[in-house]
Symmetry: C2
Subunit: 162 residues, 2 copies
DNA sequence: AAAAATATTTCGAATACCGAAGCATCTGTC
DNA sequence: GACAGATGCTTCGGTATTCGAAATATTTTT
């Protein structure tokens, strides 16, 4: 009973998630990218520079998957692969202007309508929602430690069934 | 500018989305299903019964895609296909006990840790977050009207922290 | 120097996803 | 009734995603 509110919140949250998930698929096709490609591109962009391994761990993809996605992003001129000098096994991935533009220019239907409706709310409600979502983000991030800078050892058991 | 708060909210929201997206992928592999299969299974379960077309529209997939996914779910014994009597072109999809179990037994990382942390918050904050997320859900739903409405009848609170 | 570990790619196979074509069934109009 | 068109779903053909396992190259350890 104490968790009744938690339950309601989760339910509402799932509605939000579902809506955005659909929106993200629409956005992806609008940019000519697949959702995964967009996800990877965004991750590279927010980090400024990263190795395939880091991205794979953060996004919970296999490295092989990252390779193919980056192949595509590279051929599109969205990101750049550079061999690391310090460790030549590694590659550094960094966003190119084209890639940054693809993210920025994307006509995100979610973002547009959301912003429109959001600014129509009274200021106090905007503030309340912001505070609440910030709080949520903190709760969520806490369980996805992978977002943390550099977590070393293999916390992730990928030995799932094929 | 007035949209500053909207921008911050969107940013925080993206953090939430990313965390849950990753969580959902983990959950899917934990159940032995792909994310899409899990998505479809959940949608069928939530609605209790639905036609392929409805699911396709709600999830923004093509019907052809739903067919293959349902094929898989059916062969796994998770859902059942029944020809409609009223309209024999249609099929009714309904979850089987196996399918419900797959959803219920899945250790949803989002749900578990979220609930734990959430109930630790002071009641006023829980209430605030709930109100905010409800509001968000309304804003989001409004732009995805084509996604058929969820039946509210007999919503099962599977999230019961038993 | 050999062995083990690490970072990434290549390869093979299952699956996802879709558009178009094909079937069966329903609906509207005569 | 009967016929044309609409509707619901599946099948088919094709491209793209995703991953595990093996391969390659480089570092680190012994």
């Amino acid at each position: 009973m104490a968790s009744e509110i938690a339950s309601l919140t989760l339910r509402a949250l799932r509605r939000v998630l579902r809506a955005t998930e659909i929106g993200s698929r629409q956005l992806a096709t609008a940019t000519g990218l697949t959702p995964s490609q967009l996800l990877v591109l965004r991750e590279i962009d927010t980090r400024g520079s990263a190795t395939p391994g880091t991205i794979a761990q953060a996004l919970q993809f296999s490295q092989a998957t990252i390779t193919t996605i980056v192949d595509r992003l590279e051929s599109l001129g969205f990101v750049r692969r550079q061999r690391s000098q310090r460790d030549k096994r590694q590659f550094h991935l960094s966003p190119l202007p084209e890639g940054k533009a693809a993210i920025a220019d994307a006509p995100d239907p979610l973002q547009m309508t959301f912003t429109d409706r959001f600014v129509a709310l009274p200021p106090w409600e905007q503030a309340m929602i912001l505070a609440a979502v910030e709080r949520l983000a903190t709760l969520m991030d806490a369980q996805n430690i992978d977002a943390a800078p550099l977590l070393d050892s293999g916390l992730i058991d990928r030995s799932g069934p094929a």
